[in-house]
Symmetry: C2
Subunit: 555 residues, 2 copies
């Protein structure tokens, strides 16, 4: 047995918040059997990934070992945990296990991608267990901001691992299961070799608050507000959506769901039995028949997404509705770092319309879905693991979480993406460094982050582009060369059009170039590029990207 | 006199935090004389302004009235108030008035731009006054996060206006002048027709804290930390820089200034007499001779700027220094919304090096330079103006500030950029809507935000580019057309190279096109563009930008 390895290997999520993908393996070196936990996405931004549609963990390493993967387990239905199943599943092929609500949404993704929905298998909560290869896995209910979130109890020949998934310690979560200290203590009582644990909120110093605490403030607010109210939150936060709807009803408002995700999530909640008594909603096309002070719109787009309902309302009419002075928009959500500008843009647009905006600045109308620092420490103490492995966090989160564990007397290891840790035999040892990275979904194509495609786009965005074409016949230019610019000022220092300046410089070069140059396309291109960059720098102070097209006419 | 207008017109700063530029005018319609308050910049980002170097208010309206501008007043030396003087002054030409520290830095900018430094005139603080046209202007000291910040007391034939500039209510600011309630009450006692007032922190609910409150925590921290300490803040926050340096000295550390702005600001402070007893500093090339636990580096780049000292240290050696495990970096600053990702990137890089990072998350090591909500209300009550005009804020700040004033019994008006308000005769009336906007410094050229240059760059970043060239002779294609791609995946659905697919589709079109099409370059271009966009969409699911180059050979 001593030659068997028990491998923990994060491919995504241990280096960022999002894009979760963890591998557990067991067996002799090179013959391990694997299970995968979560296949999530992260979202692109203009800074580093302009034009990209979605970002996944690079699963090339897993794909090469496809025949040794026994199962994919999905902890919960947030996009950063389940979002990539439709895109990546064909490259892995193993069955997907998840609880009802999660598998319902995973199947919708499978349908969108034309995949076989029977590969998504619904399992029940602990004490139900599934045996896949050397691993026996159970879904232990945890509280989070989406129904049926679960930690995984992963029993291995070396002992028990608990992989928390995303969680918070909430004893009154309203929808879904409460955090159950006794249950957690019970599953941990015979020893846990590793607690692989959510790090998201490790920098939040105070104990987290319960979902139940926002009910009263939201209800009071809905009652107090005079005009139409629109409220936005993550659609997947079904508990919050329900709280908002119920608060609206108590305030005499009819509830209108606006935005595709909002309708899909409420439907999923009802169909899977996660929500049992959601208030009756009014279709958007009937909303006009109700006085506006009796309306509550539940809208998508709490992060300022341009095409979501909230943003559309900030720009004017959406599904026949228009906000006016006296109306109020409630952000029952936290703005994720990086989205501040998008959210501000919307708040300012509402401000110009005279629409009031209530944000979460004072924490009255939102609570986080992740365990804060003291809650993380609490779970360490309930589980008492041999080892804490922080996951789901940037490096700074992992490091702070490891330090927290160590300060409380637990062994901890920082294992960022690509770090393979062998947990067998009680010796914790880094045994592999796997090349990891990111895969971009660009349109309908998956490309590597390092392919240079996006780098070229960023360069064009920063530097602009000059395209030049020259026709060469008998090793001499046929006529003048042409330049076109894209994303560059039309005139610069000399006040003459930039293209004229460039064409003149290039034509002078082409006229004077000797035969040795003119027979060599690479040399011509190199020289033309140099001239264009130098002259553009002179004229407008920028060195542009250059595309040289040489057309050579032969007999 | 009733035909004279007293105009308040913001061109920048009343719609954003940054890019301050306000105009005051007095006289008969069309013959008003003007003064300008502040000529600031704002900073570009990848989202909306990739590749842009700096952003200014569009001053075309002012430039058209250049002969009627009597003076430019600069309230203080932050870039969002003084940053554009070198770039825009030639278009305005009026003398610049500022206090010593500010004019020192303005003159450095003039020198960089080869402008006449004599046009920058140093004036003293209140009760000194300068008469320019119909306005008599005095600099009333206020506390802020840079020395010699001032409100302007603008006396007009219609009465007194107070323009606060940026300010906080700090009675112990350490460097520079304290907020002086008695002085403010005194200058206001004969009536103030309008208080034009900073709105930046209107959403901060608690009274602001004094600069003096960070001294003790920082000193204790420096003493407690074991290894080398690097501390970063805005270099222009001379009080903070001095506090950090003094804390370092008390902890037995030699102080090293790292980054050009850090050296320039400390030098400016000493040369203008604003700082009198700054600790002796050690040049970076001598730092290696001191044990690292006796070093304090004061570094630029608190906002995560890629080329500043802090970012360079996070990537490795900078000026011979390298941070190692056991060292600590202190961010004695707030992260400005939008910069979170850049700052996180640096914190994570330090985390990977084992370097600890202390941020301002608990507010111990930083205080804001702007008046919070209760401080703003306090100033309203000290000045008791006829009218509050909120400035320096996004629309949501201006609106919240106006509401705050009205709730406390003051009249207020929201006047975003371009809104000309006539304050004459006690009647407050919007009399002009001036077309305003933004000017981009792109390399060395000033371009309009709406010119389409940056829009084209953003489109290339989002969509990628296909360049195609075709040679036409006698209205028939001469050989095949060529395609090149930039920022697009090389292969898509059909697994064939994208350029091959495109060239085949285009060549088919060119072969079959009738004479009516082939004589018409516009038609050919339109058709080729259509084919490229359709085929690329088929292959990779994106519609690219297209550049068609048609070369027509004529005998």
């Amino acid at each position: 047995m001593s030659t068997n390895r028990l491998l923990y290997l994060p491919l995504g999520g241990a280096g960022e918040i999002g894009m979760n993908c963890y591998v557990y393996g067991y067996g002799p070196v090179g013959k391990e059997r694997y299970i995968v936990v979560d296949l999530g996405v992260t979202f692109p931004d203009m800074d580093g990934t302009p034009g990209v549609d979605l970002i996944f963990a690079d699963i090339a390493w897993l794909e090469e070992r496809k025949d040794r993967i026994d199962a994919i387990y999905i902890t919960h239905a947030h996009e950063d945990h389940v979002g990539a199943v439709g895109h990546l599943w064909p490259r892995l092929g193993a069955p997907i296990y998840a609880r009802k609500f999660t598998s319902h949404l995973a199947r919708l993704k499978f349908e969108e991608h034309g995949l076989d929905v029977k590969k998504v298998i619904t399992v029940g909560a602990w004490p139900e267990q599934t045996k896949t290869g050397p691993f026996t896995v159970g879904f232990l209910p945890v509280s989070h901001s989406i129904p049926e979130s679960s930690a995984l109890i992963i029993d291995t020949p070396e002992g028990r691992i608990i992989h928390t998934g995303d969680f918070k310690v909430d004893r009154t979560p309203l929808v879904g299961e409460a955090f159950d200290d006794d249950l957690w203590a019970d599953v941990s009582k015979d020893g846990v070799i590793a607690l692989v644990c959510d790090s998201t909120n490790v920098f939040s110093p105070n104990a987290g608050r319960s979902e139940a605490e926002v009910v009263e403030p939201l209800t009071q607010l809905m009652k107090d507000l005079p005009g139409l109210v629109a409220a936005t939150t993550f659609a997947s936060n079904v508990a919050r959506v329900k709280t908002l709807a119920e608060a609206g009803v108590k305030a005499g408002r009819s509830v209108v769901l606006m935005g595709r995700a909002m309708r899909r999530m409420v439907t999923a909640g009802i169909e899977t039995g996660v929500i049992t008594d959601f208030p009756t909603t009014l279709p958007p096309d009937k909303a006009g028949e109700v006085p506006r002070e009796n309306l509550l719109l539940l809208t998508t787009g709490s992060q300022g997404e341009r095409r979501a309902a909230t943003a559309q309302l900030s720009r004017g009419k959406y599904l026949g509705m228009k906000l006016v002075e006296g109306d109020t928009v409630i952000f029952s959500s936290k703005t994720i770092p990086g989205n501040e500008n998008s959210v501000s843009r919307i708040v300012n647009a509402f401000s110009e319309m005279g629409v009031d905006v209530v944000t979460d600045s004072d924490g009255l109308y939102h609570v986080s879905g992740h365990a804060n620092r003291p809650d993380i420490a609490h779970v360490h103490n309930v589980v008492k693991p041999n080892l804490v492995i922080p996951m789901h966090g940037e490096h700074r989160h992992l490091r702070a979480h490891a330090k927290l564990a160590e300060d409380n007397g637990y062994k901890a290891i920082i294992a960022p993406n690509g770090t393979g840790v062998n947990l067998a035999g009680g010796k914790i040892k880094v045994v592999e460094f796997v090349e990891t990275g990111r895969t971009y979904l660009d349109g309908s194509v998956q490309i590597g982050a390092m392919d240079g495609v996006v780098r070229d786009r960023i360069r064009m965005a920063l530097n602009g582009l000059v395209v030049t074409t020259v026709i060469i016949e008998d090793n001499a230019p046929l006529g003048d060369c042409w330049c076109e610019i894209k994303g560059l000022p039309e005139t610069g220092r000399s006040k003459a059009p930039l293209v004229d300046v460039l064409e003149e410089d290039l034509n002078q070069f082409l006229m004077r170039a000797n035969k040795k140059t003119m027979v060599d396309d690479d040399k011509i291109e190199e020289e033309m590029r140099r001239i264009i960059r130098r002259s553009t720098q002179n004229e407008i102070g920028k060195k542009p990207e250059v595309q040289v097209v040489i057309s050579r006419l032969s007999n």
